[in-house]
Amino acid sequence: MNTYLESLAQLFGRAPRKPRKDELSPAAQKMYFYKKGEKVTKAQLIALHDEHHKNSKNKWRKRRWLTLIAVNLLFVVSFALDIQLLEGALTASRFAGFHMADLNSALQVMLAHKTVLINLLIGIVTVFILWIILGGRTFCSWVCPYHLVAEWAESLHLWLAKRGWAKNYTFHRGVRAVFYVIFALLAVVTGYTVYELISPTGILSRAIIYGPTIALVWVAFLLLFEIFLSRRAWCRYVCPIGITYGIVGVFSPLRVTYDMTDCKHEGDCRAVCLVPHVLELTIKNRSTDIHMGLGADCTRCGLCVDACPTSSLNFEFQGFTHREVKEIEERPLMPESKADSKDEK
């Protein structure tokens, strides 16, 4: 239960903390003990990565981009050919006649309108169950069209930042929770779905389906802000949709899990991650157990799975994915740590 609370707290902006030594499981303590002083060179990491991903590089990114484009195209094709397979836009739709409602948009409408309609309720329940099964913020990285363009903007940002032409001003992550409360209150007080005015998800989704709008200028402005001033600012610090789906995904069986056994703690996963705080457990002495799921803020995008040189990060569907429980083998201690332990005695 504690891990779920911690996961929620991090979703709302709390920074992950270093666990006390007595919070680590005996197995984890033992593993970290054997890892003491373990060093790895860049060349070794590259070799390891090549070995683990020799069949396909960026496997999950490819799958994800294809899925995201396919879902958004399905809306377009369904409307253009009038086949009524997936009608509407991401804010609300009908899939083969079944109502679906974006949970955040539905929430804004209910708060502003102060009424719940049966059709909307059906849509909410359907989507709620869907994303509990599929992992909550999976919506963000696998469906939201803004996520894809922001990802492209991000690579441009990183390229520019490396040359000193762009900066990355960070914000406190808690600001997203503040926005969540602000937009909820604004909806109740003003009676308008205020957030929908600036939601790049809705604007992009409608532009893709119904044709370009002036509202795209706002989306372009956001992208420029992210490219030159702050990496992935909207998804990280503003978007309430992320929190809504994050909450839905707290108990989701589908998650990225971490196994520390082979981890080299080099941090390649954190470097590519949209929400690196969920991966702080890959820092040495941070994971309380050998095998752990990532927090609810994880968008299940799989970039870390692709980046990990040792396959220590993997997609897991609890109850379905078979996981080998490895015995902790006795390892020879590193020379450095031997010296350490002698000093302690």
Partner: protein, 308 residues
């Protein structure tokens, strides 16, 4: 600032994580870390203020007193209710057989993504018969309390420019109502019961222009019912009142002429505005007025008070 913010984020390697720990032992008082934390806090406050203010710009184009910005699809709630309940999905757009429903842009503020109808470009001619947009609406922004076409109240037609009106001038009309380049669609029961056709494919030839009366969907249904042929074979589809008709009017100066007169059965669908062949439409939809009655009642109370 640049390097420190980079440390926490873009190059988030283990070495970068170790660095601040070392610095902590060197610097005393408000060290670089505390300074950066303070800056980050101020930036976060600025971000909150900035984004919130931008979102509130949506108020600017909203007219006061809940007046309608545009003609809304059939069944639309009162403007404020409509704006609060619309989830901006466009399902009403997708089901409309004449593509009358369109989505608003960001220049309408909180109206962004909500459905409207530009009657002059393409009016709702009810050729779906079943109020498809109302059925498609997932939030009830287009109220589900409607059952029949004549129950809708999108607005109310008014003869806006009687001086332009061909009927008032005693003129007829021959040809395509809106010219050869007009793309709008209209359903003609006698041509194709199920599919609307381009307006330009159906030229008219009348001695006194009565296109608005001829094309009115409510009038058509009313007349069918008078002939005992109920629309869709359902007597409930019969409008209880007429919507528009040409009447012989005698002006104060004794001049007699024909004039389109709008009755309380008008639902404000906008077909008259769409088909009106004058360069500027003589007849338009006032989408804040829903029937004749409140207007005349208002006039009566006003005249009593003001003593006009």
């Amino acid at each position: 600032m640049n390097s420190s913010s980079k440390d926490t984020d873009s190059i988030n390697t283990s070495s970068a994580v170790k660095k601040p720990a070392k610095k902590k032992t060197i610097t005393r008082g408000p060290g670089r870390r505390a300074q950066e934390a303070r800056r980050q806090f101020l930036r976060s406050v600025a971000l909150t203020a900035g984004v919130t203010s931008i979102s509130l710009l949506g108020f600017m184009p909203i007219p006061s007193e809940g007046k309608r910005q545009k003609l809304r699809p059939p069944g639309a709630l009162a403007e404020e209710q409509y704006l609060s309940s619309c989830i901006k999905c466009g399902q009403c757009v997708q089901v409309c057989p004449v593509n009358a429903v369109k989505l608003d842009d960001i220049d309408t503020g909180f109206g962004l993504g909500t459905a409207y109808i530009d009657a002059r470009e393409q009016a709702c001619d009810f050729s779906c018969d079943g109020l498809q947009c109302v059925l498609a609406c997932p939030t009830g922004s287009l109220t589900h309390d409607l059952d029949y076409t004549h129950d809708t109240r999108m607005g109310f037609a008014i003869l806006d420019k009687p001086k332009l009106c061909l009927a008032v001038a005693g003129q007829g009309f021959k040809g395509q109502a809106r010219g050869p380049d007009y793309e709008g669609l209209l359903r003609y029961e006698e041509i194709d019961r199920w599919n609307p056709i381009p307006l330009k494919d159906h030229p008219y030839d009348v001695e006194i222009c009565d296109l608005c009366v001829q094309a009115c969907p409510i009038e058509q249904r009313y007349n069918q019912c008078q002939d005992g042929k109920y629309p869709s074979g359902d007597q409930n589809q019969c409008p209880p009142e007429r919507a528009i008709g040409l009447e012989l009017i005698e002006e104060k100066n004794g001049v007699r002429h024909m004039k389109p007169v709008i009755y309380d059965g008008c639902v404000g669908c906008g077909v008259c505005e769409m088909i009106c062949p004058t360069a500027e439409p003589s007849i338009i939809i006032d989408y804040d007025k829903l029937t004749k009655r409140p207007l005349s009642e208002q006039y009566q109370t006003k005249s009593k008070k003001g003593g006009h």
